[in-house]
Amino acid sequence: MSGAVMAGGLATASQSKLMWLRFRRHRMAMLGLAIVVLMYLVALFAEPVAPFNPDKSNARLVFHPPQMVQFFDGWSFSPHVLAYRLARDPVTLQPSYIADGSRKVRLRFFVAGDPYKLWGLFEGNIHLIGPENARDAVFILGADRQGRDVLSRMIHGARASLSIGLVGVSISLLLGITLGGMSGFFGGRVDWGVQRVIEFIISLPTIPIWLALAAILPKEWSPMAIYFTITLIISLVGWTELARVVRGRFLALRGDSFVTAAWLDGCSQGRIIFRHMLPALTSHIIAAVTLAIPNMILAETALSFLGLGLKPPAISWGALLREAQNVQSIAAAPWLLLPGAAVALTVLALNFLGDGLRDAADPYAN
């Protein structure tokens, strides 16, 4: 494509097209986007993606170590793992798992396995990957203290952990746009009031306040009710940052000539806010929202880890990390820390994505 054509294309490109072009230059942000999309897809299709039922326990496979997947058998492509058998040390009687080189468990894609109900609607038993023989056990990321598959539990945990980020951010966004927008648009006494409330919330140490709020929840509530209340608690503390962004942008835009022009044209207040000012803010809001999701995810993880958030049988990354709370279980089964790696990877990807979006949304960059 020649330079002239490029320039012509750029001159007529829409705002979103320009943003996308700028965003694409940000390599880490593109990588972040890919990881985030992949994570949310996995969470959405957790049942068929997970190799096993996350609640299937086996008392004889407690703390089974992770099995390395080997893709080639000799020269032919045939993914498999080596089977382990339980052996006891003849002196100390300490049980330990030993790789048994003679027996291989073959893995297949789209294989029939544990039955499930996708989204509670569609019944099925096909899993993305699993052992050829459904009765074999394969622990790609090891097993926990009840012999449950850590990989499957992590995949199912992604659903609660990632969706809390989205739901929480929506509530925060609603509060943030309403209060921040009012504060920035009306100014004066409204602004003063909202600013004092925000200052008050920001200066409270969040975790002790979350703990106090979470301790209010009755212990006999259903996991679903707890899930929504926890989300509400997290977003009640988290909306302030969004409100500040929205307020700052509103204050900056209020004096812009296009807003004055709209006033002079006789537009109503609502039309000025929703038709003229909000579209100018959308890109900034999207960036701020992307940067707020990781905080929500970290908050849920911390609360569930302390036992005040989601509790078993509900599965979330924080609830899974609770299994790795003491030195003994970490020493016996370090793979129980892996849900934490999933948290870190997601937060990292979302941060890169948000940074890229923020840079792309700024028309004055460079």
Partner: protein, 327 residues
């Protein structure tokens, strides 16, 4: 300057009152009270629960009063240093929290100093040598530091401690000094244990401060006054320290107001993981057991700590920047 500080101190009073009301309301919102928790524990242990005894316990602890009366009893004691009575521990609250709040303060303040002493030079380096290998390295470490929750870092360090060094990294004292009275040896012992929680707690704060310092300094480095100073022949180092860094420090200090709340709240969860004798584990226990005065005292003091942090940052800012001082 004196008037500035007095005005700020006066502004803190309504804030603290508001905090104390919020905290007490939060605690009272929990369904049931300490006595019903106690009764449930008795019933679970298979003992008979006598309603008359429970009622007399309630009236002894004042739990049968409306919450506003309870709040007034509590807060009028707090003003003169009496934080009430802990039901769980059967001890006055002030006896329980004294050392724990002190250790929380030591941990938070030394973490703050660590964060600053790490973030300042690295931030300056990253800005001056922008897009160098070191800058990319620190940027990457910074992003990872922001993404890894503190308690996960604590868990990983615990694993490394157990599997590589065969030592438990938890706690703040070795067993010989755990319950000993304060002495020189105990202080040394504390210093030997304190650095692990400091690093865990300080990582994410240092990561974000490095980003802030780098961005602030980059804004300053290409200002005309820097070119002027360079043209007059000032050496690169004293130029940097005397002008742009001083201006860039400004937002650095003003972030103290939110860094301290973050440190205090991070310390709570890390203390639970590492089993530190600070406020965290006891606060969690008090909240779960509805030990209202103990939980209330911790929450109130932790929130006050952050208010004091904001005050300190305002004073430091006024000292650093004449424009604020002479307003």
């Amino acid at each position: 300057m004196g008037r500035f500080i007095v005005r700020r101190l006066a502004g803190m009073v309504p804030f603290i009152i508001l905090v104390s009301i919020t905290v007490f309301m939060l605690i009272k919102l929990t369904p049931g009270d300490f006595v019903s928790n106690y009764a449930a524990a008795l019933a679970a242990a298979g003992e008979t629960v006598d309603d008359a005894m429970l009622a007399s316990m309630r009236s002894r602890y004042g739990l049968d009063q409306p919450w506003l009366v309870q709040y007034w009893d509590w807060i009028s004691g707090v003003v003169v240093g009496d934080f009430g009575y802990s039901f769980q521990w059967q001890q006055p609250v002030s006896a329980l929290i004294g050392e724990r709040m002190g250790l929380t303060l030591i941990l938070s303040v030394s973490t703050l100093l660590f964060t600053w002493s790490v973030a300042l030079p690295i931030g300056v380096y990253s800005a001056v040598r922008r897009y160098s290998l070191g800058d990319y390295l620190f940027t990457f470490i910074g992003f990872v530091g922001l993404a890894v929750p503190g308690f996960l870092l604590a868990l990983v360090l615990m694993y490394v401690g157990v599997s590589v060094f065969h030592a438990d990294v938890g706690g703040l004292f070795s067993s010989a000094y755990a319950d000993a009275p304060w002495s020189w040896g105990r202080c040394v012992d504390l210093a030997q244990h304190l650095w692990i929680p400091i690093i865990i707690l300080g990582t994410s704060g240092a990561a974000s401060l490095i980003r802030i310092m780098r961005a602030n300094l980059l804004d300053q480095l290409h200002q005309p006054y820097v070119d002027t100073a360079r043209a007059k022949g000032l050496s690169e180092f004293s130029l940097l320290v005397r002008y742009p860094i001083r201006v860039a420090l400004n937002p650095f200090v003003s972030t103290l107001g939110w860094v301290l709340p973050n440190l205090v709240s991070g310390a709570v969860i890390i203390s639970v993981v590492l089993n530190l004798p600070t406020a965290g584990p006891l606060l969690l226990q008090a909240l779960m057991g509805q030990d209202q005065y103990l939980a209330g005292a911790f929450l109130l003091l932790l929130c006050s700590l952050t208010v004091i942090g904001t005050l300190l940052s305002d004073i430091l800012l006024a000292l650093l920047d004449p424009r604020i001082r002479f307003q």
